[in-house]
């Protein structure tokens, strides 16, 4: 292990699904870095590859999918060099993922207490009673009332948001070095969401946990993250410090994304939406994948755009970025 290395560094990651209909390039050139105690907001179009990126990092990509290129460095160490057993150890103790679908974490036929106590005891040598106590406290942390009674429930007896919170509680149990949280608060109201975000911030500040927060909720990213990476059709198309990206987006997709937030639109009127449909990953247009929907597209967008650093720390995969507005802002 290497103390000065970032907690996670992803370099030009490619994860492809080799399906009968063709190769689905779900992740196709994704790079980012997350340091100790920092939060990266990973946002982007539905289907753009956010979850598959997370799965690639924790080594859960199943055939017909596989990592087809790039590197994933965890505390300076290439994860591809680890054995299956080492990877499993890492996954349980140092890296945790909160899945978009809480039922991927929860076993529907086991009571919550059984599941949580098993998780605690798998990683810490503690008595059953002690493990139960920790499980109980973790439920309280994510705002589940009557945790003692609730421990005795089955997942289907919880509301959607409560299931989501149990999955979060399980991920927080071991204070891992890296948490990949995939849309963890989509179904939560603002009060409970605030509670969870407060716990996440506490964890980052106190234990130096690095967070990747996958979400489409830009207001959460705005409040929580340090940096942001925006994905479109398998690629990171823009990245940089949160306030710079949100206040002065460079990439036309990011501009469209911010414009679609309902609170920025007038009630009852059609919401502004990015025109056209998400292109099929099976037959992406040649060149910039956003080309068919982009209001700034020019003929020279038909060659794959590079991703230059337009400003210090500000990258955009576009040859006609919104630089004028960025200056004005």
């Amino acid at each position: 292990m290497n103390d000065t290395a970032p907690t996670l560094e992803v370099r030009e990651l490619r994860t492809h699904f080799f399906t009968r209909a063709g190769v689905v390039k779900a992740v196709d050139d994704v790079s980012f870095t997350v340091r100790r105690g920092k939060v990266l907001g990973l946002v982007g179009e539905s289907g753009s590859g956010k979850t598959v990126t997370g799965f690639s990092i924790i080594g859960l990509v199943d055939p017909p999918g596989r990592i087809a290129g790039g590197q994933i460095l965890f505390q300076g160490k290439d994860l591809a060099s680890l054995s299956e057993a080492e990877m499993r150890h890492l996954r349980g103790n140092r890296i945790a993922m909160i899945f978009q679908d809480p039922m991927m974490t929860l076993n529907p036929v086991l009571r919550i207490d059984t599941q949580m106590i098993e998780t605690v005891q798998a990683h810490a040598k503690v008595s059953r009673e002690e493990a139960r106590q920790r499980a109980r406290d973790a439920l309280g942390q994510v705002g589940i009332p009557s945790p003692d009674e609730r421990l005795k429930s089955y997942p289907h007896q919880f509301s959607g948001g409560m299931r989501q919170r149990v999955a979060i509680a399980i991920a927080l149990l071991h204070k891992p070095d890296l948490i990949i949280a995939d849309e963890p608060t989509t179904a939560l109201d603002v009060t409970i969401q605030g509670q969870i975000l407060a716990e996440a911030q506490k964890l980052c500040a106190e234990t130096g946990t690095a967070l990747i927060w996958i979400t489409h909720d830009l207001s959460v990213v705005a409040g929580l993250a340090d940096d942001i990476a925006v994905m479109y059709a398998g690629k990171v198309v823009e990245s940089g410090p949160v306030s710079q990206v949100l206040d002065a987006p460079l990439h036309p997709y990011t501009v469209g994304l911010i414009g679609s937030v309902p609170s920025r639109n007038r009630r009852g009127e059609p919401l502004r939406q990015i025109p056209g449909m998400t292109p099929s990953l099976l037959n992406l247009p040649e060149g910039c994948a956003f080309r068919s929907r982009c209001p700034r597209a020019e003929p020279n967008c038909a060659v794959p755009p590079p991703m230059p650093e337009y400003r210090p720390g500000r990258f955009a995969r576009c040859i006609h970025p919104h630089l004028e507005e960025a200056v004005a802002a």
């Binding site: 009674e149 603002v190 207001s219 009852g268 059609p270 939406q273």
Partner: protein, 347 residues
């Protein structure tokens, strides 16, 4: 329907049609059956009680034809349970649900089937509501075919149209649900619900899993269908921005009860109930950068053991002695605006 019911209709929706759904004193209780040891202990005289969750507690609610009603409330307050009862897929423990003026529990045969078909629910948890062993084309096409909405010869084109409308590429229709992203699965659920041509949709966090751009697409689609097909919606969401944008009327729930109900502009400008006010104060904004989030203040009340009187009293900054003992009634405080708070009795 009685005259009185019609007269009490909120002014703001006076232009809307007849009630499509009426709930009267609807409750839902879940009890966790005791395990063997607990049963034995109780048999032997130990004071073991069954945990009962009061998920929905005496709710009256009317939804008029053509209306969009937003339903908002904390996680676990009973929104999905209420939505399932409205959709007729979960029987209430007490109270009645009227669909077009008829009690849905007493409807039989063809009528009940039609009512079920005309009411569709889009579920919060698409993964659990989509059969993992069915291809998308079967998930979306099965019901329309069975119910004769489309002939087999036209089925393929019909399914393609439904998928395209929900923003999905028909090229992927031979895939299984697990091969889609979370947001794509949510859209499969939307395509399935719309495919049977319902007149009433219960949308349970239907756009929560979607990025804002696709969210905008789907919300615009909902609004367009409403105009074209005169659809009625119960729109469950924790996202107040979405609710404000879409709804005519907003219903706020707290711990199983409706605490406030008003036309959308009223709620956002003149929220009456202290819970609603607290809720509105907490809406995160995209312009708020890197801030410290606050935890929940005070204990979160539990539907297993709800606080007495007004359920909100342990967290309410205005709580009085009376709030601890007496349940406040949901009363009209302005035309079409109802609130359940004792403060409204003081003039």
């Amino acid at each position: 329907m009685s005259e009185a019911m019609t007269a009490a209709r909120p002014a703001a929706t006076a232009g809307a049609g007849a009630p499509i759904i009426e709930l009267r004193g609807v409750s839902k209780r879940f009890s966790r059956s005791l395990d063997f040891a607990a049963k034995l202990a109780r048999r032997l005289g130990a004071p073991v009680r069954e945990d009962v969750v009061h998920a929905v507690d005496g709710v009256d609610l009317t939804i008029h034809k053509g209306e969009v009603v937003g339903l908002v409330g904390e996680s676990g307050c009973g929104k999905s349970t209420l939505g399932r009862m409205v959709a007729g897929i979960m029987p209430p423990s007490a109270g009645t649900v009227l669909r077009n003026g008829q009690d849905i529990t007493t409807l039989g045969g063809a009528e009940a089937r039609l009512g079920k078909l005309r009411t569709q629910m889009i579920f919060q948890d698409p993964y659990a509501s989509l059969n993992p062993r069915m291809k998308v084309t079967e998930i979306v096409g099965e019901a329309p075919l069975v119910h004769g909405l489309v002939r087999r010869a036209g089925l393929d084109a019909y399914v393609d149209a439904q998928l395209r409308r929900a923003g999905l590429d028909p090229a992927f229709k031979r895939r299984y649900p697990h091969q889609f992203s979370g947001g794509q699965r949510q859209r499969i659920g939307i395509a399935r619900a719309l495919a049977v041509q319902p007149d009433f949709l219960v949308c349970d966090e239907a756009v929560a899993a979607l990025d804002v751009s696709i969210q905008a697409q789907i919300l615009n689609l909902f609004m367009q269908l409403r105009r074209e097909l005169d659809l009625t919606y119960l729109f469950i969401s924790h996202d107040l921005g979405v609710v404000e944008h879409l709804s005519d009327r907003v219903v706020i729930m707290y711990l199983g009860r409706v605490v406030e109900e008003a036309p959308v502009a009223e709620i956002f400008q003149r929220a009456n109930h202290p819970y609603t006010q607290a809720l509105l104060a907490e809406v995160p904004r995209i312009d708020a950068r890197k801030r410290a989030f606050a935890g929940v203040k005070g204990e979160i009340p539990s539907p297993i053991n709800p606080p007495s009187g007004c359920h909100f009293h342990p967290r309410c900054p205005f709580a009085m002695e009376r709030c601890r003992v007496e349940r406040p009634a949901l009363r009209e405080i302005a035309p079409g605006h109802r609130s359940a708070c004792h403060l409204n009795d003081r003039v």
